[in-house]
């Protein structure tokens, strides 16, 4: 157990008759997956440090339905979406931040036509905002001179054309950013999207995450940075397949920043 985090729920804000600056949509991975929980904690550590008045939905949060939609189950997606929208609208939520590009994409793009209209940002965008506003400052020593390569999550990059925010934020850690041969629009998927995370891959001659990790390892990195809990899992498994887990770490952008304050 690390430092005590300060996390309030929407319910608590409501009881106090207040509105938070922003809602942190934790997502299912960020809530339950052991590795992703650390990302949630790192992000909250940064929010606390910057004194952001944020809320979470806590036990009221439910899957966005994104993965069901990608799997083809539009019914389940819309059921989840409408339940969540009812909740979010009830709390008069205006702005949402999330560490999960899949939640980011579906909340930002697919909820509006169902009645859920919010200003949705990815945590790398929000962290950039906090840094730009001077609400958050980094000491910039921890990763000085370390080689860091950023793997673009498909649902942040190609899906929503957010390429710069994570890079700009990473640059503030004073790490040496190195690009993989395929990056930004041509970045290779980690293999988890489209509900692949929850099933065995189809027959082939290699796993996608192993191929993508190979791209990353070619840059000879100390750290592979990601901005997605699913990419994180896939890349972590990938470096194990390449037997590099002792020399290369896979970290979320939020974790790199949380270690730099």
């Amino acid at each position: 157990m690390g430092d005590q985090l300060r996390v309030k729920t929407m319910q608590q804000f409501m009881a106090e008759g207040k509105q938070p600056e922003i809602l942190f949509w934790v997502g299912s991975a960020g809530s339950y997956d052991d590795r992703a929980k650390k990302i949630s904690r790192a992000f909250v550590k940064l929010l606390n440090k910057a004194n952001v008045d944020f809320a979470v939905l806590g036990q009221e949060e439910s899957s966005t339905g994104d993965v069901a939609k990608r799997a083809g189950n539009e019914f389940l997606f819309q059921m989840q979406a409408m339940m969540n929208i009812e909740l979010l609208n009830g709390y008069e939520v205006k702005r949402i931040v999330t560490c999960d590009p899949h939640s980011f994409n579906t909340l930002k793009n697919e909820y509006p036509s169902l009645g859920g209209i919010y200003d949705v940002v990815h945590h790398t965008q929000y962290l950039k905002e906090l840094l730009d506003q001077g609400r958050l400052t980094l000491q910039g020593e921890t990763y000085k001179g370390k080689r860091v390569t950023f793997h673009d999550p498909c649902y942040l990059g190609r899906a929503n054309a957010v390429y710069e925010a994570p890079r700009e934020v990473l640059a503030k850690t004073n790490a040496d950013l190195v690009e993989m041969k395929r990056h930004k629009t041509t970045a290779l998927c980690c293999g988890a999207g489209g509900a692949q995370m929850f099933k065995e891959p189809e027959k082939g001659d290699m796993d996608i995450n192993v191929l993508r990790t190979k791209d990353a390892l070619e840059t000879n990195p100390d750290i592979i940075a990601t901005g997605c809990p699913y990419c994180n899992t896939m890349m972590t498994d990938g470096i194990k397949a390449h037997e590099k887990e002792d020399s290369v770490a896979v970290l979320d952008v939020a974790e790199l920043l949380a270690n730099s304050i």
Binding site: S31, V56, R70, G72, L76, M79
Partner: protein
């Protein structure tokens, strides 16, 4: 009999254009078999996309070698059409080099056509080498066996022959001009074909005229034939790239459409005031319940069908596809080729049955696209990003997954587990919703 060539030319033109028009009507009918979709939004962005992506070739040059070579052929195609206009008018009116009165401008035009024709030949040769000698990965994938491979090469041969005929015609004309024969007045500049002139050194005047006329006729007949070849080939992209980039997706790539039919049902289910036993209103009862997702081409929307006809099988999508790169069966290009092949089959079925489609016991799913392919997709949008003409193979994959899941409950078992977890406890894993905030204190 003086007008015989004019008459023959008019007939050739009429037949060529007429047959093409006939096939275009069929093409348009087939595309309209798709469901309606609202594409009336974002007009300025759509025009911009068409200008940048189709006219400006912006996505072609992402791969510089193929991109620049393609620009040669593309610019050649567009510009040389000015020459085709002159040829058509000459053919109909019995004139020779009608536009030559433009003087210097004409010389400049003919000169640039020649250079372009030469560049087209260079590009076509490079393309042929890439396909047949270097055998680039994306040109030798399983879906490229047979007709698609032959089609690709045939197009290159035709373009090579057409350009050669054009230069031959000019070379003979140039020599005749030099000799001051009949109506061959000095007109045009021949920066390329002048080097072919030595070929004619032993030819008599009449043989030269024969060469010039033959090349002229074969060139224009070849163009008319090529125009009609388009419909039977992957080469339709030279026309359809323009509407396709206009109607292509203008929303963020990650955004999938929300099915309105599902929204209606979900709203009813969640409305506490709705009476689940209420008799359907008369209009509802008469309506055929809408099928969820797509199992055949008629279930797709017309833009998706236009996509299929626009695909020129370049394979950039497939070469960027993570599933394909790791040896899975999925190839986004094959999704488009299958959609077109099935649509053509449905169209032929209609032609044979007085315009009505008679069920043939086949469909796009399983008979063309396998479930294994559909489930291998990571929805990463690499294919959509890679397509130089804004085709969206992913939308078809998702539409077919929807059919499998919502009409057939035929998702892979692990996905069914994932979905029942979401239904039961609001997360894809079997954890208690009450534990959602435990991470704070761990």
């Amino acid at each position: 009999m003086e007008y015989l060539p004019n008459i023959l030319f008019a007939i050739a033109l009429l037949v060529g254009v007429g047959f093409f028009t006939h096939n275009v009507k069929k093409l348009s009918r087939n595309i309209k078999l798709g469901k309606d979709v609202d594409v009336s939004d974002n007009k300025p962005q759509r025009w911009k996309n068409m200008v940048q992506i189709a006219l400006g070739q912006s996505k072609m040059v992402v791969r510089p070698v193929a991109g620049i070579m393609h620009i040669f052929v593309y610019v050649g195609f567009i510009i040389i059409n000015i020459e085709v206009l002159e040829i058509i008018l000459d053919g109909l009116l019995g004139t020779h080099r009608l536009f030559s009165s433009l003087g210097l401008v004409y010389n400049f035009l003919i000169g640039s056509f020649e250079i372009l024709a030469f560049l087209v030949i260079v590009a076509v040769v490079v393309f042929w080498i890439r396909r047949n000698i270097i055998r680039l990965q994306r040109f030798i994938k399983p879906e490229m066996k047979g007709w698609p491979k032959k089609d690709g090469n045939l197009i290159l041969y035709i373009e090579f022959v057409l350009m050669t005929l054009f230069l031959t015609m000019n070379a003979a004309d140039f020599q005749l001009q030099q000799l001051g024969v009949g109506h061959y007045l000095e007109a045009g500049a021949f920066p390329i074909s002048q080097y072919l002139v030595p070929l004619w050194s032993r030819l008599s005047e009449s043989s030269l005229i024969l060469v010039e006329r033959t090349a002229w006729w074969l060139h224009i007949l070849g163009i008319l034939a090529f125009l009609n070849y388009l419909y039977f080939s992957k080469h339709l992209h030279i026309l359809l790239a323009f509407p396709n980039t206009y109607y292509g997706k203008v929303k963020p790539k990650g955004q999938l459409n929300n099915l309105q039919s599902v929204t209606n049902e979900v709203k009813l289910m969640m409305d506490p005031n709705a009476d689940p036993f209420a008799a359907p209103t008369t209009t509802d009862a008469a309506a055929v319940p809408e099928k969820f997702g797509a199992s055949d081409v008629m279930d797709l929307n017309w833009v998706q069908l236009l996509n299929a006809y626009t695909c020129t099988e370049c394979g950039r999508c497939t070469s960027e596809c993570p599933a394909n790169q790791t040896g899975k069966k999925l190839s986004p290009r094959k999704i488009m080729m299958d959609t077109r092949d099935r649509l053509e089959e449905v169209g032929k079925n209609m032609d044979a049955n007085k315009g009505e489609f008679v069920p043939d016991g086949k469909q796009l799913l399983d008979d063309y696209i396998s479930r294994e392919e559909l489930w291998a997709c990571t929805t990463c949008n690499a294919c959509v990003q890679a397509c130089p003409v804004s085709i969206d193979p992913l939308s078809i994959i998702v539409e077919m997954r929807r059919y499998l899941v919502m009409e057939q409950s035929a998702a892979p078992m692990e996905l069914n587990n994932m979905m029942s977890n979401i239904e039961n406890n609001g997360a894809p894993w079997p954890y208690n919703q009450m534990d959602r905030l435990n991470w704070v204190n761990e």
